[in-house]
């Protein structure tokens, strides 16, 4: 029976090629616009570490007090001061944890005659690597002993490894950062989580710059490798330089902690609360404890990682899809009702209403498939276009993969069937007697 309906549908669609083309174009463009913007939305709203994000937490401690809240909100600032970050690290209450700051350092190549170049990286404790499950090609992260002894060790990206050592196993070789040598203990595999969840504050989530260098925290602090990220202050540091920044109330450090279950989370929250209360008792804070402990998904939301432009675009494109559907619905209505005579004959010859439904929904579905195929092609064009118009950091993430392909087709067919429902309902209500008579 389906084959018969398909045949009927093809015949009907061929009879008015102009109208058919209009409907296919409308569905194609509507779906493509939605899918293109959705691909960007999907890229920026993704979970960078889905198997673990609910166990990773970002602690916040209000280090500035109520007078610093200019807009009436009571949210603590989204970074930690050096004093607080180091206290949390010393107390070591989470399973794994690390303060984090971003650096931009010069690396001097080993081969003579080459100019020094800049790499972007992060300063962390050794616990960072197992916590974020960074994949290693060679070697591993450094140990707690290395942290304690302030060993001059480094983890580098595979990109930096290619650039410096031609991609071979470089464990044990040394890399010259800011004029000082560090021993390579680990080379990362290709690893570029997006959004870059361990440093939302400085990347806004998305960055085309690769993260090429990781240095041990206490080693980097002692050698004065400065923070290259945002620094927020309620008052200027009293002493100058990087040391002055460390002693100030300015916030510039990120922090990540792994807490494996609800009990650990509530214990850590209590700990933060009691830490802030101790600070209040000691007179460093003159305000009641104001702490937050967001898990990673909640943190990404509170940092507004998905740009509002992306949301508006998706919304507008969905609006376009709705208009395309209303449009298709109108055209299908015209097309179906024009065939009232044919419907009358079929009904008079014994076809039930369900048969009419099947016939016309098949026809709508066919338009949906054609629109979907056009939509896939146009989505491909759209995603290429996005690469031109959007900032590289987010545009690079929008890709046409198998799942988007299938989704495009599914949305097109489902939407067209939806649009076809009312016209089909009207077609099925055609009175056979009246049609036959009027002919």
């Amino acid at each position: 029976m389906l084959r018969y309906y398909l045949e009927l549908a093809v015949r009907s669609l061929k009879r008015s090629p102009g109208l058919t083309a209009l409907m296919v174009l409308a569905i194609g463009f509507g779906v493509a616009a939605s899918m293109t913007t959705y691909s960007v939305f999907r890229a920026v709203s993704g979970d960078p570490i889905p198997w673990k994000s609910s166990r990773l937490f970002v602690p916040q401690i209000d280090a500035w007090g109520p007078s610093a809240h200019r807009d009436g909100s009571i949210e603590p600032v989204d970074a930690l001061s050096y004093t607080d970050a180091m206290a949390l690290m010393r107390d070591h209450r989470a399973k794994l944890q690390s303060p984090i700051y971003i650096i931009s350092s010069s690396v001097v190549p080993t081969r003579p005659g080459e100019h020094p170049f800049n790499v972007s990286g992060h300063v962390v404790y050794g616990e960072f690597f197992p916590m974020v499950e960074a994949p290693f090609r060679y070697g591993s992260g450094w140990s707690a002993d290395d942290d304690r002894q302030r060993s001059a060790v480094a983890v580098i990206s595979s990109k930096l490894n290619r650039k410096l050592f031609g991609g071979e196993n470089s464990i044990g070789k040394s890399v010259n950062v800011e004029g000082r040598n560090y021993r390579v203990v680990g080379v990362l595999d290709e690893w570029n989580p997006q959004p870059r969840f361990y440093d939302i504050q400085n990347t806004g989530g998305f960055s085309t710059a690769s993260d090429d260098l990781f240095l041990p925290f206490e080693r980097a602090i002692e050698w004065g490798i400065p923070n290259d990220g945002n620094t927020g202050c309620v008052k200027p540091p009293e002493e100058s330089g990087f040391v002055g920044l460390q002693r100030s109330s300015c916030v510039w450090l990120g922090y990540l902690a792994q807490l494996d279950n609800a009990k650990a989370v509530s214990a850590y929250r209590d700990y933060l609360e009691s830490y802030a209360r101790d600070q209040q008792h000691s007179g460093r804070f003159t305000w009641a404890p104001n702490i937050r402990l967001h898990d990673l998904p909640a943190w990404l939301v509170s940092e507004q990682v998905v740009p509002s432009d992306t949301k508006i675009s998706l919304l507008v494109a969905l609006g376009l899809l709705v208009v395309c559907l209303v449009n298709t619905s109108g055209l299908l209505l015209a097309k179906f009702l024009r065939r009232s005579g044919e419907i009358g004959v079929r009904r008079a010859l014994g076809a039930g209403r369900l048969a009419i439904y099947a016939q016309f929904l098949t026809e709508a579905g066919m338009i949906g498939v054609a629109g979907g195929l056009l939509g896939i092609a146009l989505t491909g064009v759209g995603i290429l276009g996005v690469g031109v118009v959007l900032p590289k950091g987010t545009a690079a993430l929008a890709t046409l993969d198998m799942s988007l392909l299938l989704l495009t087709l599914a949305v097109a067919v489902f939407a067209t069937l939806l649009a076809g429902l009312y016209p089909t309902f009207r077609a099925a209500r055609v009175q056979p007697a009246w049609q036959l008579k009027s002919n």
Partner: protein, 419 residues
């Protein structure tokens, strides 16, 4: 011609009419807001920065293996290196002038502080009366010509007023130049030149010696984009930035020559990536890329939307014309002229479009309100909506013309034929 027969006929095609009206309403709502977004983004992009942007580029470089600027000796050494670089750049044949600077308008990296007309208590304050947030630019006396700033009152720095100190040091300058927007905000009813300001909560005063027309802050400095403070100083740190004005038309040649000149002064520096020597044109494009992208996207969506709606009107009206051939024939046979038939369909479309536009205005304002609440968009001005309404009405008339003309060509003899 009266509306009565049109309304009576429309009642027979309720669903078709509702679908067209709905489509017009949605199109109006979305296109109005999309065009408003485009308008706002274009407005942002077209704002002048206060610079003469042609022939200007920025060099950012970093020295390797220097002692750092935290000690006095280190700062002196870095300043000497900066002066060597400046001298080398200034002697380049394609270069007209050079000034050290910490940032440029629309550049991603910028230092922000608070400025007040009363002595501070050591804390940043930008919320009390007589205070403001501002972008700081540390520059020397040649910045006025290099950047092409326009001095509106007072004077610019003299060479002997330019100090140098470590970038990590908080020092209150003796004198500054501020932007006109800043001057008008802090000194609404007097000339800012000669007045004193207190920077970053300092207790010590800083004298304003001049006012420049405008100098925009970083692209993220949205609420205080036009508040600028120019400090006469070379900041010493392991990195430095130089604003370079090339001789007219020689920008690209000058940019190409910069790396070898600076490597010639001192090879132990980072200057290899494409961010190191960057034309202001590229700084501007990078800063506004997302605005531009959004405007293009909204434009594409609007064009598709208008196209789809127009074809929808054509399709459905054609169907109606086909359906009513006999009635049209009867009317023609009874004496209606071709133009009467044409007008009938045009008026019919106008009626539907008006209905759609009324719903559309409500939807447009509703969508705008929702965008305001959730995404901090501005309120859409009434003229935009009126233009939008006019546009969809015109769109309807334009789309209906072809099928309406076909209807007017139906011969009177059609009345006598069955279907």
């Amino acid at each position: 011609m009266t509306l009565h027969p049109i309304l009576a006929a429309l009642r027979k095609h309720k669903s078709g009419v509702v679908l067209i009206a709905l489509q017009i309403a949605l199109t109006l709502a979305i296109v109005c807001n999309a065009l408003f977004i485009i308008g706002q983004r274009i407005h942002n992009i077209n704002q002048p920065t206060g610079l003469v942007e042609e022939d200007l580029f920025l060099v950012s470089q970093q020295w390797v293996g220097t002692p750092g600027s935290d000690t006095a000796a280190g700062a002196e050494r870095l300043d000497a290196m900066q002066k060597e670089d400046l001298a080398a750049l200034r002697s380049m044949p394609d270069v007209a002038s050079v000034a050290p600077t910490t940032s440029l308008p629309l550049y991603s990296s910028s230092r922000v502080g608070s400025v007040g007309i009363n002595p501070g208590n050591g804390e940043y304050d930008s919320t009390s009366k007589g205070t403001a947030l501002a972008s700081y630019f540390f520059m020397d006396e040649q910045a006025l010509t290099t950047l092409g700033l326009k001095l509106v009152s007072g004077r610019f720095f003299h060479a002997d007023e330019v100090q140098h100190y470590s970038g990590g040091e908080q020092r209150t300058p003796d004198l500054i130049v501020i932007t006109k927007a800043m001057a008008e905000k802090l000194f609404p009813d007097k000339d800012a030149v000669g007045q004193v300001l207190y920077l970053d909560g300092a207790a010590a005063p800083t004298r304003v010696i001049g006012v420049v027309e405008r100098l925009q802050g970083a692209v993220w400095a949205k609420t205080f984009a036009w508040n600028g403070v120019l400090v006469p100083a070379r900041l010493n740190s392991t990195y430095s930035r130089y604003a370079v004005r090339a001789r007219p038309g020689r920008r690209d040649a000058a940019m190409k020559a910069v790396p070898s000149v600076l490597y010639g002064v001192n090879p132990m520096r980072v200057l290899d990536d494409e961010e190191s020597v960057k034309s202001f044109e590229r700084i501007r494009n990078d800063a506004y890329q997302s605005d531009m992208g959004m405007a293009i996207l909204m434009g594409v969506v609007s064009v598709i939307l208008i196209g789809v709606t127009a074809t929808g009107i054509v399709g459905l009206t054609s169907f109606w014309v086909g359906q009513r051939r006999k009635q049209i024939g009867v009317r023609r046979a009874l004496g209606a002229r071709k133009v009467d038939i044409l007008h009938y369909f045009q008026l019919e479309n106008l009626t539907i479009a008006c209905g759609g536009a009324i719903i559309g205005i409500l939807l447009a304002l509703g969508l705008n309100f929702w965008l305001m609440r959730n995404f901090g968009m501005d309120r859409i001005p009434v003229p935009w909506v009126i233009v939008g309404v006019a546009a969809v009405l015109l769109l309807g008339q334009f789309a209906v013309f072809v099928p309406a003309r076909r209807a007017s060509n139906v011969p009177p003899v059609a009345a006598t034929r069955s279907v």
